[in-house]
């Protein structure tokens, strides 16, 4: 016993020494009130800037679902002094790339530009205008509304979309995470809704600015202030409510597809929860570790039931889902569902084996450098750290936090977060 303890302590010490540090992250508050995160990196003549706002689709008011996405889509379609064509043409002339997305919590807008002054400075000026003076022109709004409705109608014929929506609705009854845009809600949106949403959610206080690449600290400070100082004044928009856990239930939805889409899960994990590392490491063995997980072995390798089968935790500002998913031909949907449930029950009862735990740590620790081997990946990681307010040494301590997870902690964490009595199941196109 003593020896075993000693050994594990030794392993920890070794792990600490082997632990790899993340990039050096500078952090400050811009005079505007925006939080800024900066990784200086002159390896390539590139600058990446991402601005994240607490303006994701979870902030859609009931009946106005789809608003957050449309606001985001229209940011670069007309600003003070430039119409949508001028914006796109100028960015293309500079070779700059504008990107972004809307998740549950976050609306992100990012710019990649060459760092040379003659490219960077004008590109940042356009970026500032996009964030600070979108005009939401009425004609553009009507057009984009129609495009959005067309895309939604198409998506609603797809078995994966139908399954995903039913799944979120079942997990989050009465909560904003469980609602989604429909053709009706989007058609009902007015221009004034866009302006109001923008003014209350695209504020400096709700923003984090992440800067990675070929600029100096002084330049980074200036550009963070430039991008955030003209944002709308903070009006104290509402925060997200805590969801209630659903009672276990199962839904079957007909569809002509050849394959059934199966989803199982529940609201499970909030960003910053101390159980994050036990759940991450445990889930690797259950269904997160690509080709080596239990689900992959039992569902795909042993039985040939599915091409893809997985499980993951999606931590959000409020508890985000734990989700298992697979697709299998109609006739064997029930068999595949049973195998999946057995695997989950077995894992909840026993936790990972010693060998599984070791394999999980080996991969998660060993692959750490791969999480950060490009500016793009550094940007992704640091923007999450900034948006959710993680400690600045989160990446530095990542491998250490993985290493110290025990099998008992995994079992206990799963027992706290993955309770069968709250688990919902959705099967679309089953038999």
């Amino acid at each position: 016993m003593k020896l075993a303890k000693f050994l594990s302590v030794l392993c920890l010490v070794l792990a600490f020494q082997a632990a790899e540090a993340g990039p050096k992250i500078d952090h400050w508050l811009a005079p505007s009130g925006a939080r800024v995160y900066f990784v200086e990196n002159h390896g390539l003549p590139i600058l990446d800037v991402q601005v994240d706002f607490a303006a994701g689709s979870a902030y859609d008011q009931p009946g106005k679902d789809g608003l957050a996405s449309l606001v985001h889509a229209l940011l670069d379609m007309g600003v003070q002094g430039m119409d949508e064509m001028q914006i796109s043409n100028r960015l293309a002339d500079l070779g700059a790339l504008l990107a972004g997305g809307v998740g549950m919590d976050r609306a992100s807008v990012s710019l990649r530009t060459l760092s040379a002054d003659d490219k960077r400075i004008p590109a940042l000026e356009i970026f500032r205008a996009i964030l600070s003076s979108p005009q939401f022109p009425a004609a553009v709004f009507e057009r984009e509304k129609a495009r959005s409705v067309a895309a939604l109608k198409e998506a609603l014929t797809r078995p994966d979309t139908i399954a995903s929506r039913a799944f979120w609705a079942a997990m989050y009854p009465g909560h904003t995470y469980g609602r989604y845009a429909t053709p009706e809600t989007v058609n009902g949106l007015q221009g004034a809704d866009l302006v109001a949403f923008y003014r209350s959610h695209y504020t400096a206080r709700r923003a984090t600015v992440t800067i990675v690449g070929d600029v100096s600290r002084t330049q980074a400070e200036a550009l963070a202030q430039q991008l955030s100082s003209d944002l709308p004044a903070d009006a104290g928009a509402a925060a997200l409510e805590v969801p209630e856990l659903p009672a276990a239930n199962e839904q079957r939805i007909d569809h002509p597809a050849a394959q059934a889409h199966v989803l199982i899960g529940l609201p499970a994990l909030r960003r910053g929860d101390p159980d994050f590392f036990p759940l991450l490491v445990g889930n690797y063995s259950l269904g997160g570790g690509g080709f080596v997980s239990r689900l992959m072995k039992e569902v795909r390798e042993k039985r040939g039931f599915a091409y893809s089968v997985y499980s993951y935790f999606l931590p959000l500002a409020q508890p985000g889902p734990f989700q298992i998913g697979l697709q299998t031909k109609k006739a064997q949907a029930n068999d595949a569902l049973k195998v999946t449930r057995d695997v989950l029950a077995g894992f909840l009862a026993q936790g990972p084996s010693k060998a599984e735990l070791q394999a999980a740590k080996q991969n998660l620790v060993g692959s750490f450098p791969l999480r950060l081997d490009s500016n793009r990946k550094i940007l992704e990681n640091v923007s999450v750290i900034g948006f959710y307010g993680f400690p600045l040494d989160y990446l530095d301590r990542y491998t250490e936090n993985v290493e110290k997870v025990t099998a008992a902690e995994i079992k206990a964490a799963f027992a706290r977060h993955v309770k069968p009595e709250n688990m919902v199941t959705v099967v679309v196109a089953g038999e």
């Binding site: 390539l44 003549p45 590139i46 009931p62 064509m85 914006i87 796109s88 043409n89 293309a92 002339d93 070779g95 790339l97 060459l114 490219k119 057009r143 129609a146 495009r147 409705v149 067309a150 895309a151 109608k153 198409e154 609603l156 014929t157 139908i162 609705a169 009854p173 009465g174 469980g178 609602r179 989604y180 429909t182 239930n249 007909d254 569809h255 002509p256 597809a257 050849a258 394959q259 690509g290 080709f291 080596v292 072995k297 390798e301 039985r303 039931f305 599915a306 091409y307 697709q327 991969n363 620790v365 060993g366 692959s367 750490f368 450098p369 791969l370 081997d373 490009s374 793009r376 679309v428």
Partner: protein, 452 residues
């Protein structure tokens, strides 16, 4: 003394030459080429093995075998058990996968640099020593059929693309989908997989691409050690199977459960064969950029934003391929507009190019984007390795990558106009339409109210 003094001088001279030589290349005695691009920005490496064998090398009745074999490559050798390959890569902190195309099959691992030797050992092992066990095959073919259901059978746009290929090409094996026809999968045997493996999985039909924080000399030594002992074997003759000329429009319709109609138009066009002499493939690339290179390019500006004829409209063209080329126009009409109207809208845009040419601004914009993209790609080791592999499988040296960019930059407005006129003609066109069908029993969209 003189000798000693010379050495630092030589080193000094040699350094820039070394920098210019990156990527480095060596061919082993068994024919395997090893291409190493040093990139020291992060302590990781991408390791890829490319086989010049894709679905275009398949024969009737065994379509999909190239891709099936890709799956079987993870099912073990005498020294590495079934599933062990991925387990070892995962234990090394790595990520691995593989992909099959019409032209090639490629395998990759992204690992911390210390693990490169082990990856080379594993890849070398399965290059010649795959077990191809009948039981493993019987499970895996089911997985592949599920993959086909997931990615093709239940994806209206994929079905449309599959039918398009089968109609645009009648003789060339590009007519066959990479994943294979379902009935061929249903009747595939482990012997089909063995035949395929024996035919194509030899070092003289492969090349290795390594991009990352490595010293090329050390990598060449490792390559010699692991890949060197593998025996080459003569490859079967590859018949050209050239597609006969097309002399009239072809048209097909796919009906599938969906809501949005799709128009997919494909014109027969050339691809890059000779980096120095060719002109048209470069002009076609620039044409694609003028039509669909950014949000205000012609298709978006005219078809989506001004005329509101389409909710989406795009262009597809890949100038590097082993087989024949297609220049695709694809889009979905806006509500209330028809597929025929969108097709006419596409044609009108092409006619406008043929009649009025393209503006200097438009070409300058496409060039600016090209220059920037060359810098941006350096941010990803994986992307750099992919580029090398794709050029090489198409029979173009990766060493010509900069020359290709220069050639693209030198395309004139008249050359762009000329390719539109010469190739985007009805005689060379195949049109595929997705005719969306309502779901037989429209599922009730679940409401947001709780239901237990």
């Amino acid at each position: 003394m003189l000798y000693l003094k010379l050495i630092p001088f030589l080193l000094f001279l040699a350094t820039p030459a070394v920098a210019l030589a990156n990527p480095f290349e060596q061919q082993l005695a068994n024919g395997l080429r090893v291409i190493v691009k040093e990139d020291h920005r992060a302590p990781t490496v991408a390791h890829m093995v490319w086989y010049r064998a894709g679905s275009m090398d398949e024969t009737n009745g065994t379509t999909g075998v190239a891709h099936l074999l890709e799956h079987m490559m993870f099912k073990g050798t005498p020294t590495t058990g079934a599933g062990e390959f991925s387990r070892l890569v995962a234990a090394a902190g790595g990520r691995d996968n593989a992909f099959t195309s019409k032209d090639y099959t490629a395998y990759f691992q992204q690992v911390p640099k210390q693990k490169l030797a082990q990856m080379m050992q594993l890849e070398a092992d399965r290059m010649r020593h795959l077990t191809l066990d009948a039981k493993e095959f019987a499970q895996e073919i089911k997985v592949v059929m599920e993959e086909r259901r997931l990615r093709t059978e239940d994806q209206p746009q994929a079905l449309l693309g599959e039918q398009m290929g089968a109609m645009a090409f009648q003789a060339h094996p590009y007519r066959v989908p990479v994943i294979g026809w379902m009935n061929d999968l249903e009747s595939m045997t482990v012997q089909d997989a063995r035949n395929w493996y024996e035919r194509w999985y030899v070092p003289n039909n492969a090349f290795v691409v390594i991009v990352g924080d490595v010293d090329h000399r050390a990598v060449f030594k490792l390559a010699e050690k692991y890949y060197g002992p593998l025996k080459p074997r003569a490859l079967p003759a590859r018949k050209p199977q050239d597609e006969p000329g097309q002399s009239g429009m072809r048209r097909l319709t796919v009906k599938a459960p969906a809501d949005l109609p799709v128009v997919l138009m494909a014109y027969k066009v050339p691809v890059l064969r000779d980096v120095e002499k060719d002109v048209d493939p470069y002009a076609l690339e620039m044409l694609a950029s003028v039509l669909d290179g950014h949000e205000a390019a012609r298709f978006s500006k005219s078809l989506i934003r001004e005329q509101r004829l389409a909710v989406s409209a795009g262009v597809g063209y890949d100038a590097t391929a082993r087989g024949p080329g297609l220049f695709y126009l694809q889009g979905s009409p806006s509500e209330g507009r028809t597929r025929a109207e969108l097709e006419a809208g596409f044609r009108a845009e092409i006619t406008r190019i043929v009649k009025d040419g393209v503006d200097a601004d438009e070409l300058a914009r496409a060039r600016a984007q090209l220059v920037a993209s060359q810098i941006y790609k350096l941010d990803s080791m994986f992307a750099q390795a992919m580029e090398i592999g794709q050029l090489e499988t198409a029979g173009i040296s990766y060493r010509q990558d900069k020359r290709i960019i220069e050639k693209l930059q030198s395309v004139s407005a008249e050359q762009v106009r000329a390719v539109a006129q010469n190739y985007l003609r009805d005689e060379q066109l195949t049109v595929a339409e997705l005719d969306p069908q309502p779901l037989p029993q429209t599922p009730r969209v679940p409401s947001a109210t709780p239901r237990h």
